[in-house]
């Protein structure tokens, strides 16, 4: 009995760098602007840090890196708050998806997603790696 061809896994990487001062100028201490970009959880985390804007910039970079790793930008009805950085008890960041981004991930077969963040006084950097399942082409299928 023929078996179905195994699905192939595809890896995509996304990186982003954000200037801390630029992020601070754009969102500032305006709560409504901040809420356009960050979830309540993210804001609570950042506001609890001494270098609040470094952490905000790192989270903005993470959102961008994730969308780049998806092969899309913030162009398809996605909101920045659809990509949330949450921290495990160890401090390690991970990504939680919501809304249109979560729908996109499900539709296109996202299997795994990882993120790494780093920041200095001036710059915040994020790298995301995504793993997608893609059905293998059936060599027996007629065209």
């Amino acid at each position: 009995m023929p078996t179905a061809p195994a699905a192939e896994l595809k890896l995509r990487v996304g990186v982003d760098v954000v200037g801390v001062a630029r992020l601070e100028r754009v969102v500032g201490d305006d709560e409504r602007r901040q809420a356009t970009v960050f979830t309540e959880h993210e804001l609570a985390y950042c506001r609890g840090k001494r270098r609040c804007y470094e952490h905000m910039a790192a989270r903005f970079a993470a959102k961008e890196a994730v969308l780049k790793a998806f092969g899309t930008g913030i162009s398809q009805r996605m909101r920045w708050t659809d990509v949330e950085v949450v921290n495990e008890a160890s401090g390690r960041p991970r990504i939680r998806l919501d809304g249109a981004v979560a729908t996109y991930a499900k539709r296109h077969g996202l299997q795994d997603l990882d993120i790494s963040l780093s920041h200095t006084e001036d710059l915040a950097f994020a790298q995301a790696v995504s793993v997608w399942e893609q059905p293998a082409e059936d060599p027996c299928a007629s065209t």
């Binding site: 100028r25 969102v27 961008e64 899309t72 162009s75 398809q76 249109a100």
Partner: protein, 131 residues
């Protein structure tokens, strides 16, 4: 309300730190002017401050896609359909549907969005808000 054309132009010039003569109505925000996501956020906040019209980044996608479901706007490989290309021509009249259908990746749609397209969107929002 401030003149929308001027307010949008000023927002773009200031957010991207450009000279005034570098920005034309035909300039594409991302390709020609080099705007990235944080710049887009900055531009939209500045437009709101200048005109009172609030637009979120996700609204751009809604506006461009015009309510067409994802699976009708593009195929499984993210390539724009005939229906998608017609919609793009409505909001970006400078585009030629025959050049986009079956060729353009949905991820690339924003690269075609010009300063004039943004002006038109803001004006539409302002009119819709009764302003």
């Amino acid at each position: 309300m401030a003149d929308v054309d001027s307010a949008v132009r000023e927002a773009v010039v200031e957010a991207l730190a450009l000279d005034d003569d570098e920005v034309t109505p035909e300039s594409t925000l991302m390709e020609d002017l080099g705007a990235e996501s944080i710049d887009l956020l900055d531009i939209l906040f500045r437009i709101e401050k200048g005109t009172g019209v609030k637009i979120e980044a996700s609204d751009l996608g809604d506006y461009i896609q015009g309510g067409i479901p994802d699976d009708e706007f593009s195929d499984d490989n993210q390539i724009i359909s005939a229906k998608g290309a017609e919609q793009l021509h409505k909001v970006m009249p400078q585009t030629d549907p025959s050049e986009l259908e079956g060729k353009l990746n949905a991820d690339e749609v924003m690269t075609l969005f010009t300063v004039q397209n943004l002006v038109d969107m803001v004006k539409g929002r302002a009119d819709g808000a009764g302003g």
